[in-house]
Amino acid sequence: MTLDSIAIEGGFQNPVFDAQTIFRAVMQAMAEPGTIHKGIALAKPPAPLTPEAAAVALALCDQDTPIWLDPALAGDEAVRAWLAFHTGAPLANTPADAHFILAADPEHLIGLENFAQGSQEYPDRSATLVLQVNDLSGGEELVLDGPGIENEARLAPRPMPRHFTRQWAQNHARFPRGIDLILVSREGLAALPRSTRITSQEA
């Protein structure tokens, strides 16, 4: 296929209902951190963007939301063209300008403090990080606590950014400022809003 046709194909089959399905999965994941929501691979983007991450981008991003791509995604012309065609979202010049971050290579991700944190008056003006991981159950177990969690929740995503537990503790300490995290893998998606605490110790 030519680059043009790669960019044009692979969007939602039913844009209205697929977007609603993905949004509800993200909403439930944010409301109940640590829960995994399946059946979200509704888009067919060019690799290394995964169907799950692409579906989240299609459901939430548009011309109002600058996106920042990590080097693994930004280096791929087909990915940039696909996102541009299907979402219309501009690419952010710097990580701090982006409303959404798409990252395919968690281990080499820059520090979370580089992304928009919002202000104390407007903590909603912060970035949402969509992180592509291999799975949500094979990594080091994170024990979660906070709003949306009855007793405790567990999640074991891998791979994760370096010193993730420490970075997340700092992110949580900035509350109400801070970023929100959506983890996507072939298993489905899970979310860690900034209100979530990780209570397990980093090894």
Binding site: V16, F17, Q28, M30, H99, P123, D124, F175, P193, S195
Partner: protein, 295 residues
């Protein structure tokens, strides 16, 4: 394409266009991530006047899907004008199944009551909110109230409650009673009677609040602490009623006063019509239900 799209060709599914839904959905996600914080959003003109639930309708329209079952209540009742109109609106523009049974609904849009029956995990309660800012009547400037929330400066609200005690001997605020969410943001629970405040605490359901005219969305995730503001020597108390529901005999429920004649006759009945009907179906009777059956 889906069969639903053929039926409603004149509108997009759920009335709003997709870009508007995305904008509202992003605001909802931020609201859930920062419990109790009011997220500004670009509220749209809806085919109903402000004050009739445009905020709640926009939130519901952005959340609802074809599999959802919708219940709409107005002061606890399924059969009053606002509830009937909004239910009909979503039947028309989203072709969704509707119900009056609390337990069967996946989304419940409400104006100023929380159903008596405890909500379940997975249910979404959408509140229609007139004035989302709990500090607005104490401080009219948005720039100032925003700073007060940023600095967690809520002394003024306690002064207001204290003035109640100084004047009346008790906290006289009976509705829109301010709450603190997860120990951080002071939030207006919308003009629900304070009777309903304890139901918000650690609720299993997700609670979303939409204020259309004021252009704010806020949320309380499930299992979140919602504490009504009070003082150690004047703890928070809910309303109590002297008599049970005249139709179902229910106690521990919120009652409406209904005037029966011009000679001072009156009755107290359940505000939550679904709960009252369910209790009567189970065989519970109040002292006026027999007369009603006879006519």
């Amino acid at each position: 394409m889906n069969a639903h799209t053929d039926n409603i060709a004149q509108y997009n599914f759920a009335y709003l266009d997709e870009q508007t839904k995305r904008m509202i959905r992003r605001a909802i996600l931020k609201a859930i991530a920062i419990p109790g914080y009011q997220v500004p959003f670009a509220s749209r003109e809806m085919p109903m006047p402000y004050g009739w639930g445009t905020g709640g309708v926009q939130v519901t329209a952005s959340v609802i899907g074809t599999d959802d079952v919708l219940k709409v209540i107005d002061q606890g009742a399924d059969d009053t004008t606002n509830a009937v109109s909004i239910r009909a609106f979503f039947q028309k523009v989203a072709n969704v199944e509707v119900t009056t049974h609390t337990a069967d609904a996946t989304i419940i849009q409400t104006r100023h009551r929380i159903p008596e029956e405890p909500l379940n995990a997975g249910q979404v309660l959408v509140y229609q909110v007139p004035i989302p800012e709990p500090l607005r009547f104490l401080e009219p400037r948005e720039t100032e109230t925003r700073k007060m929330h940023a600095l967690e400066e809520y002394g003024l609200m306690h002064v207001k409650l204290y003035e109640d005690i100084a004047q009346h001997g008790h906290i006289a605020t009976t509705f829109a009673y301010p709450v603190k969410v997860e120990g951080r943001y002071v939030m207006d629970p919308s003009p629900t009677p304070k009777f309903d405040n304890p139901k918000m605490h650690m609720s299993k359901a997700l609670q979303l609040f939409g204020a259309g005219r004021e252009k704010r969305i806020y949320a309380v995730p499930p299992y979140t602490r919602v504490e009504s503001l009070d003082f150690e020597d004047h703890p928070f108390e809910v309303q109590t009623f002297d008599e049970p529901c005249a139709l179902c005999g229910g106690t521990d429920v919120y009652l409406d006063e209904v005037v029966l004649d011009d000679r001072g006759g009156r009755m107290f009945v359940c505000s939550d019509t679904d709960n009252c009907e369910a209790r009567r179906a189970e065989g519970h009777r109040g002292h006026l239900s027999g007369e009603e059956a006879a006519t």
